[in-house]
C-alpha cells in the first residue's frame, strides 16, 4: 500500500510530459468523469500517418494526470494505425500498481480520450469498450 504513489507516478505528476495545447491539432477530444470531477483533453498532430506531436491538459488526481503524461510519451512518434492496439493493459503496465475499480477509471480516462480523438481522425467508430454509457464517463470530440 505504501508504494501506491511510486516514483514513476509522482515523477509524471510533478513533471508532466507533453502538457498544454497544440497550435494546429489534427484531432482533439475531451473526457470528464463526473463522479470525481477528473477532466482531460488530448490534442494530436498527425503528419503522413504518424503522431508527430501530442498535448494533454486537464485537472484531476495524480493517477489520472500521471497516466495521461505516460500515455503521451508512448503515443508520440507512433504511426496512427499502431495506436488502435493500445489498450487498458498498456496503461496499467506503465503505472505498475494494482488499482481498485474506482481508481481504474482515473487511470483509463486519458486512453479513452485518445480513442475518441483517434476515432475522429480516422472516421472509424469508437471501439465498444470505450463507448459504454454505464461507466459514467462523458466523452466529447473537440
Amino acid at each position: 500500500m505504501d508504494d501506491f504513489y511510486r516514483e514513476n507516478i509522482l515523477d509524471h505528476y510533478n513533471n508532466p510530459r507533453n502538457h498544454g495545447h497544440l497550435d494546429h491539432p489534427s484531432a482533439a477530444a475531451e473526457g470528464v468523469n463526473p463522479l470525481c470531477g477528473d477532466e482531460l483533453a488530448v490534442e494530436l498532430e498527425v503528419h503522413d500517418g504518424v503522431v508527430t506531436d501530442i498535448r494533454y491538459s486537464g485537472r484531476g488526481c495524480a493517477i489520472s494526470q500521471a497516466a495521461a503524461s505516460m500515455l503521451s510519451d508512448v503515443v508520440k512518434g507512433k504511426p496512427v494505425d499502431q495506436l488502435a492496439q493500445i489498450g487498458k493493459e498498456d496503461v496499467l503496465e506503465e503505472l505498475g500498481i494494482p488499482l481498485s475499480p474506482i481508481r481504474l477509471k482515473c487511470a483509463m480516462l486519458s486512453v479513452g480520450v485518445l480513442k475518441v480523438a483517434l476515432s475522429e481522425l480516422t472516421g472509424e467508430p469508437l471501439p465498444p469498450e470505450w463507448n459504454d454509457p454505464s461507466d459514467g464517463i462523458e466523452w466529447k470530440s473537440a
Binding site: M1, D2, F4, Y5, G37, R59, A62, R103
Partner: protein
C-alpha cells in the same frame, strides 16, 4: 497558535470496546475511522440485536396469529416507541419507518409535494443541501410547474441572511427544505428560526436530519418543523430510518407507496387506507433493521445525546485548530464553536482522492469527493474536498493520526 483543549464527558475506552470493527487493523495499522458522516460503525449491541431477532423473534409483522408473528410485531412496534422518544414526538403515529433519509424526503416530495404544491407555487431549498434534499424538490418543481428558489451561503458556509431577505418577497411558498446540519461543511442551521420563517409564509418546513440526529438531541416539537428525516445507518444502526411528520399533515396526505399493509379494505374497485403510521408503510418493512434501529437509539441514549454532542463539539474544536496549524491545509465552513463534527479541507493542490489514498495507507478512513453536494462545491469553486467526520468513538488520537497522515500527503506530493 493555541490549540483548543480537549476534554470529554465520554468513557472513550469503554465505547470503543463496543465496536468490534475498531479492533481490526487496516493495512497493519490501527483503524482511524473518520467517515461516520457517510455511514457510522455499529456497536455489538446493535449487531447482537439483529442476530437475536433472526434467532428468536422473526416472522412477518402485523399478520401472524402465531407466537412469532406476535413477538416480531411487538418488537417492531416497540422500536417505533423508542424512535418516538428519540425525536421527542408526541404521537407514535407520526413516526414512519423508511429505509433512510432519502426515502423519507422522497415520501414527503411525493405524498405531500404532489398534492399540495402546484403551478405558480414556490419551493425554497438551500445551496448547501445534500442531493437527497435537493433533487426531490427539483423534480417536484419540474413535474408540478412550481418554481424552486435557493437560500444562498456566506463565504463561511452559513445561510446568508441577505438572501433570506431577498426571498422574503416570494409569494405562494408552499414548502421550505433545509438540512439541520450540512454534510459537507458542518454548518448548523437555526431550525426554529427557519420554521418561523416558513410558517409566516404558510409553508411547511422539511428538515433533513441525517447529519444531526446521530450527534445531538433532537426534539421535533422544540424545533418547530413539520417533517424530520433521519437515517439509522448514520446513527450506529442498520439500514432503516424514520420520517417524523405532523399527524395533521400525514392525515391529509395520500399514500406514497401502495400495496399490502397500508390498506384497510380492498375491493376490485376501491381501496381504503390504513391508519397512521401504517398508511405509509406499504409492503413488508425492514423488520429486523427497524428493531435494531431502536437498539441503536437506546445505545446512544444510554450514553447520552448531550454527552455525545459535547464530546464531538470539543473534538471538532481541537481538530479544527490542529488542521489550521498545518501549512498548506485550507479548511471550509464555519469556525467552531458553530460547527458540527465535519471537517472539510484541501491539502495544497493535491486532489482529495490522492489525499484519501495516502491516508488510507495509514489506516485512516476519510471521504474524498463532492459529498453529494455539487452545487455547494461550485459555490466555493471547488472540484472536491477531503472530509473527516467524527463520532462518539473518535478521540484526540484519531485527529493526531490524521495530522500525521496529512504530513505524509505533503511529503508525498511535495506540498
Amino acid at each position: 497558535m493555541a490549540v483548543a483543549e480537549f476534554t470529554t464527558p465520554l468513557d472513550l475506552e469503554k465505547i470503543r470496546a463496543d465496536f468490534p470493527i475498531l479492533a481490526r487493523p487496516v493495512h497493519g495499522k490501527r483503524l482511524v475511522f473518520l467517515d461516520s458522516a457517510a455511514s457510522s460503525q455499529k456497536p455489538r449491541q446493535v449487531i447482537e440485536t439483529l442476530v437475536d431477532v433472526y434467532e428468536t423473534s422473526y416472522a412477518n409483522v402485523h399478520r401472524g396469529v402465531y407466537y412469532l408473528g406476535a413477538r416480531a410485531t411487538e418488537r417492531y412496534e416497540g422500536a417505533r416507541d423508542i424512535m418516538t422518544g428519540f425525536v421527542n414526538a408526541n404521537d407514535r403515529r407520526e413516526v414512519i419507518f423508511v429505509r433512510e433519509a432519502t426515502e423519507a424526503l422522497n415520501l414527503v416530495a411525493y405524498a405531500y409535494g404532489r398534492t399540495f404544491v402546484g403551478p405558480g407555487d414556490a419551493i425554497v431549498a438551500t445551496e448547501m443541501e445534500h442531493h437527497s434534499n435537493l433533487v426531490p424538490w427539483q423534480f417536484l418543481a419540474q413535474q408540478t410547474g412550481a418554481t424552486l428558489h435557493y437560500l444562498r451561503l456566506t463565504d463561511d458556509g452559513s445561510l446568508d441572511p441577505d438572501s433570506q431577505q431577498r426571498l422574503a418577497a416570494i409569494e405562494n411558498v408552499k414548502l421550505v427544505a433545509v438540512a439541520h446540519v450540512s454534510n459537507s461543511l458542518g454548518t448548523i442551521n437555526d431550525i426554529p428560526a427557519l420554521a418561523t420563517w416558513a410558517h409566516e409564509r404558510g409553508a411547511v418546513l422539511v428538515v433533513d436530519g441525517a447529519q444531526a440526529a446521530p450527534h445531538r438531541p433532537v426534539d421535533v416539537q422544540a424545533l418547530g418543523c413539520d417533517f424530520y428525516a433521519l437515517s439509522g445507518h448514520k446513527m450506529c444502526g442498520p439500514g432503516a430510518g424514520i420520517l417524523w411528520g405532523r399527524a395533521e399533515l400525514l392525515e391529509k396526505m395520500p399514500p406514497f407507496l401502495t400495496g399490502g399493509e397500508m390498506i384497510r379494505t380492498v375491493s376490485l374497485e376501491k381501496t381504503t387506507w390504513n391508519d397512521l403510521p401504517w398508511k405509509f408503510e406499504a409492503g413488508t418493512p425492514a423488520i429486523a433493521e427497524s428493531i435494531a434501529l431502536g437498539a441503536a437509539a437506546q445505545y446512544l441514549q444510554g450514553i447520552g445525546m448531550e454527552a455525545i454532542e459535547a464530546h464531538e463539539h470539543a473534538l471538532t474544536a481541537y481538530a479544527y485548530d490542529v488542521l489550521d496549524g498545518i501549512s498548506g491545509v485550507t479548511q471550509y465552513g464555519p469556525k467552531p464553536p458553530n460547527r458540527a463534527g465535519i471537517l472539510s479541507f484541501n491539502v495544497g493542490k493535491v486532489h482529495p482522492h490522492d489525499v484519501a489514498q495516502v491516508l488510507d495507507s495509514e489506516g485512516i478512513a476519510v471521504r474524498a469527493g463532492h459529498h453529494c453536494t455539487q452545487p455547494l462545491m461550485r459555490r466555493f469553486d471547488l472540484q472536491a474536498t477531503t472530509r473527516a467526520s467524527v463520532y462518539l468513538y473518535n478521540g484526540r488520537d484519531d485527529i493526531d493520526a490524521l495530522a500525521l497522515g496529512i504530513e505524509k500527503v505533503k511529503r508525498t506530493f511535495s506540498v
